[in-house]
């Protein structure tokens, strides 16, 4: 759905580029444009009711006309996702550091972390809303929870990814545990951390929206529920488009940060 909804933006610029021989850009845009065209003509040809499936042009029209409404609901979801992203990842990184420094802690807590991760987020969301209420806290907690596990696993793996030779070298140099952590383990973990952060960038948005489904007056999740129950399908589609746009935005921010921080290689070697 998110791919389809990106088209209106990119197809316009794409038509100019079709003359250029860069098939990596042209080919996917051509495919998306074709899907859009089929969608548009299909809806028109079979005279599908807009509340069942709106045409792309209907969605675009709502995107423009209901822009203030969408934006008003965009900000709460953005803050929840961002806060959840920050809280979930920071806790995951700190616990990963504790795991790597103390095997006993890892043995005690890792099974618990696995168990928490096996609970479907949709199942635990209502519980969290009951505990934390209808406000922003529950959404942040859900977003944090959904970010937590992949980052924990990857960060532990990253901190342990240091080669034996590098650790031997540190020992020969009589390096302290602190020096090994800051100068070797932490930088070595960054490629693994960012792999997890890129996942978290999109799942944190899912977490915030799921939280808003359960109970909220504002936010893209609340708007999705509202539009669905009122058969405002073009608005529903437009909201979905904005949601995926939010996830893409967070993903791009993490990717840009990764390019700056993990400059030494695309793939971790050690």
């Amino acid at each position: 759905m998110s791919i389809v909804n990106e088209i209106p933006d990119k197809a316009a610029g794409g038509s100019l580029r079709e003359l250029l021989p860069s098939s990596r850009i042209v080919a996917p845009i051509a495919v998306l444009a074709a899907i859009l065209l089929v969608w548009q003509t299909g809806v028109r040809y079979f005279d599908v009711k807009p509340f069942i499936a709106p045409a792309p042009t209907d969605v675009l029209a709502v995107l423009v006309s209901d822009y203030p409404l969408l934006l008003r609901n965009f900000w709460p979801t953005l803050s929840e996702a961002l806060l959840g992203f920050a809280v979930g990842n920071i806790i995951a990184v700190l616990i990963a550091v504790a795991f790597v420094h103390n095997r006993a802690v890892e043995k005690a807590f890792f099974p618990v972390a696995v168990f928490v991760n096996t609970i479907p987020i949709l199942a635990i969301a209502p519980i969290l809303v009951l505990i934390f209420g209808n406000g922003m806290t529950a959404k942040v907690v859900i977003a944090a929870l959904i970010c937590f596990f992949p980052t924990l696993v990857n960060m532990v793996k990253g901190l342990q990814s240091v080669g034996k030779d590098a650790l031997d070298l540190a020992q020969i140099l009589s390096a302290t545990k602190n020096e090994v952590f800051w100068k070797i383990r932490l930088p070595a973990s960054l490629p693994y951390l960012f792999a997890a952060l890129k996942i978290a960038a999109t799942t944190s948005v899912i977490g915030a929206i799921v939280g808003e489904w359960i109970g909220a007056d504002v936010g893209l999740g609340a708007l999705i529920i509202d539009a669905t129950f009122n058969f405002r399908s073009p608005l529903l589609y437009a909201t979905v488009f904005v949601s995926s746009g939010l996830a893409v935005l967070l993903f791009l921010m993490v990717t840009l940060l990764e390019r700056r921080l993990v400059y030494w290689t695309a793939n971790p070697r050690h």
């Binding site: 080669g163 030779d165 590098a166 031997d168 070298l169 540190a170 020992q171 020969i172 140099l173 009589s174 390096a175 302290t176 020096e179 100068k183 070797i184 930088p187 070595a188 960054l190 400059y263 030494w264 290689t265 070697r269 050690h270």
Partner: protein, 274 residues
């Protein structure tokens, strides 16, 4: 013939009583495994004079690497004793008398060549501890190993041979009295290996540091070593210490000399007996 004559000239009569760089006395090392303890080295007794280039050969499993690792305090002794310049391996390690070059260059991939060379100056130095430093700056050390102009290159931008050169420069930055090298050129192609062999000899002559060099190549062992220590396996023990009668100043073409061929043949015989 000429090689033999020079060997007599350099002789075995040093001007002053030699000081042992490394002294091993009935040294044993054991590892605990799932199938009980395994003796990696047994009763190694050996004195290595200061300034020696000693190469270590032996079949796999003979404990060549373990010998370097016990001298550098990476693995503990099970019995006997080892001293490095009269100190325990731990004291020598803390005093930065020892540097180690691994088979894999073990560079930190996020640091440039120059930053990797500087790493020993940024780690493991206790407050107030004076460490010896090479007279050469890290930049000069990189130039010495032939990497002038590549100071800011990241490891993944360098070839395997270049990475190993950076590792050698890093090992020299604290002016070690003892340089341990564990098959440092084992993963390199022959041309690169030849070139680095000549360079490590030049560095040895310039710095006068004692070098223990583990290899699985007989030609490399003969070309580099003043002496070759042959170890036997299961358990690791000294088979023989073979003198190499080549002059200190060696050229690659000496590998065709009679002395070289004779020593290599002798080592191959010993290796078959192990």
């Amino acid at each position: 013939m000429e090689a033999l004559k020079v060997a007599e000239d350099t002789g075995f009569i040093p001007p002053a009583p030699p000081r042992a760089a490394v002294s091993l006395d009935r040294l044993s090392v054991a590892f605990d495994t799932a199938n009980g303890p395994i003796v990696a080295l047994r009763d190694i007794t050996l004195d290595i004079e200061d300034g020696t280039f000693l190469t270590i050969l032996g079949p796999s499993g003979c404990g060549k690497s373990t010998l370097l690792r016990v001298v550098s305090d990476l693995v503990p002794m099970a019995g006997g004793n080892a001293t490095v310049f009269g100190k325990s391996p731990e004291q020598a390690r803390r005093g930065r008398d020892i540097a180690f070059v691994f088979q894999d260059a073990a560079l930190l991939p996020w640091r440039t060549a120059l930053e990797n060379v500087k790493l020993p100056l940024e780690m493991g130095i206790r407050r107030g501890q004076e460490i010896h430093r090479s007279e050469r700056s890290p930049e000069e050390l990189l130039a010495m190993v032939g990497l002038k102009g590549r100071e800011n290159a990241l490891p993944h931008e360098l070839s395997g041979g270049m990475r190993q050169r950076v590792a050698i420069a890093r090992a020299l930055v604290c002016k070690p009295k003892l340089l341990l090298m564990d098959e440092p050129f084992g993963a390199l192609d022959e041309i690169t290996r030849d070139r680095l062999n000549e360079e490590i000899l030049r560095i040895w002559q310039e710095t006068g540091t004692t070098i223990l060099f583990v290899t699985h190549s007989i030609p490399e062992a003969v070309f580099l070593g003043q002496k070759v220590l042959m170890l036997a396996a299961h358990p690791g023990r000294v088979k023989e210490l073979v003198d190499v009668g080549l002059p200190r100043d060696r050229k690659l073409k000496m590998r065709e000399s009679a002395e070289f061929v004779r020593t290599a043949a002798r080592l191959r015989e010993l290796l078959e007996e192990c």
